[in-house]
Symmetry: C2
Subunit: 341 residues, 2 copies
Amino acid sequence: MTQIVPVILCGGSGTRLWPRSRASKPKPFLPLIGDETIFEATLDRCAVFAAPMIVTGVAHLPHVEAQLGDSEARIVVEPQARNTAAAIALAALRLPEDAVMLVCPSDHHIGDPAAFADAARKAAALAGEGWLVSFGIEASAPKTGYGYLKRGEPLGDNGFRTAQFVEKPDVERAKAFLADGGYDWNGGIFAFRVGKFLEELDAHAPAIAGPAREAVTKGREQGRLFHPDADAFADAGSISVDYAVMERTDQAALVPARMDWSDIGSWESLHAARDKDGEGNSVRGRAELVDCRNVLVESDGPRVSVIGLEGVVVVVDGDEVLVTSMQVAQKVGKLDGAANQ
Amino acid sequence: MTQIVPVILCGGSGTRLWPRSRASKPKPFLPLIGDETIFEATLDRCAVFAAPMIVTGVAHLPHVEAQLGDSEARIVVEPQARNTAAAIALAALRLPEDAVMLVCPSDHHIGDPAAFADAARKAAALAGEGWLVSFGIEASAPKTGYGYLKRGEPLGDNGFRTAQFVEKPDVERAKAFLADGGYDWNGGIFAFRVGKFLEELDAHAPAIAGPAREAVTKGREQGRLFHPDADAFADAGSISVDYAVMERTDQAALVPARMDWSDIGSWESLHAARDKDGEGNSVRGRAELVDCRNVLVESDGPRVSVIGLEGVVVVVDGDEVLVTSMQVAQKVGKLDGAANQ
């Protein structure tokens, strides 16, 4: 049986759930849903596989170490952020060639971990055959914020060849994809056989593969940490694994994953993922709601009283208070407060 | 020329503008509009008349004394709150019989002080003739929260006999009053010749007049303070001057007053009285508003960021945060926070 090694990517700048998430403590390290942090839930979900490898920057390392619990994880400390292709390359170069790496962002919520594990095993089976596998997230709405994957010919019972990668579409196209039924969202979760991934990276993105290889060769171990060489890694191209490899290989596949997924990419999607009362309200901290529906309240201290509102988010965090309608909550990142942290 | 003595009533429990106003620091003593507190603005507005007499409870006395400035005011300290008829009786019993008392709540905003002074002089002229005079506030909307005064026969150029007192009407009746045009709001501002007021109080409300008289007889002076006897005053009936006197006398008159009046009885009416930007937003404290209209923000510390909302009030005050739609802001008093101060 092939070894499945979770590779957990911990990055992010923390603007979309500002002011609860901040540059200094981004989304993965907050208990946004349930009692665990999103990172802890990711570790738990992956605990059915081999000990994970975590790729993170220096800034987030203290959070990672504080929240590892009893995980046997090894940690690759990125000298600087160079996007997902280079981050995954570092991990791949520290793993056996015949292992399957299961690449997971650390800031996604997955409500059905068993479905995740099932999809991961199917993805690993395809990866073992040499496919570069994306998880296809059920496209449940015509979202324009995600890339889409078009399903091609079936690959046994495990998945499909990826017929097409579609960048973030406009709303008309997104609606057409939904109506078609043959498209999934690209959730940024992948399975690769390590050797195959490095082959494809060498072939399609040598400007990443070369510097990453040199950074690992010249790197140094420190207990369970591994520090790639900073100068070498600085030369690596900063692009996503989708651009660098997935859209260029002719062996892209996808496994449909129906696992109650959310990237918690806005206060609206956090509200959707949370437990709610009969009026659709979700409260954390001291609050009193009167005549409210679909209201999200989050306070780290002061009591919040809300009267007669619908579809509104109220967040109190230290010296910042955010009040926004759900629908436009994605504009949070444009606020002075979020932009100038 | 008759002496006009402002009698300023300082009471109130501070729930309607909670959490900015609290039981410990109610509305009159806050700088809600402009830089002065509402009480200071009331003193200023009355400074064209004789030195005022202030009636207040022990709890608010420190605020009154701190905000008196160089006013020559005398202060009657109520042993307990017994509503307006008894409060006005205490003041009347400390004034010369031939003076005209100009009774003013301390928690109203009047945007046009010259119009107030003009109306006060007309009211004083009528009071000098023996009329018990209410200020008739322009009924600018079919409000159900106010009493209405129906104008009767003209009394020279100064005002009208009051044909009818109408308790808070339902909205259909309020609309009919507006359409009729012959009705004003009862704003709780009055002018009485002192001797006449006491005569009418003796005639219509002896259960107030008697105990008030005894409380003053047995009271004691302390510099500019006067302390009525507590035991005697406790026997005074607790009803409003409208019920006790105005609705029972056959010499009720009114002076129409068009003076940009507001009782600041809700966050909505405070917003209406405040200076606003081109989008109708009014901000006090640190705030960033994006795509907002008719939003009121008030913060004593934390920065407040608001996105994509209309007609919403956000108040941050110490350990309390209030978020409410303008329309239902009058429900603030029903919140646990406001009710259990």
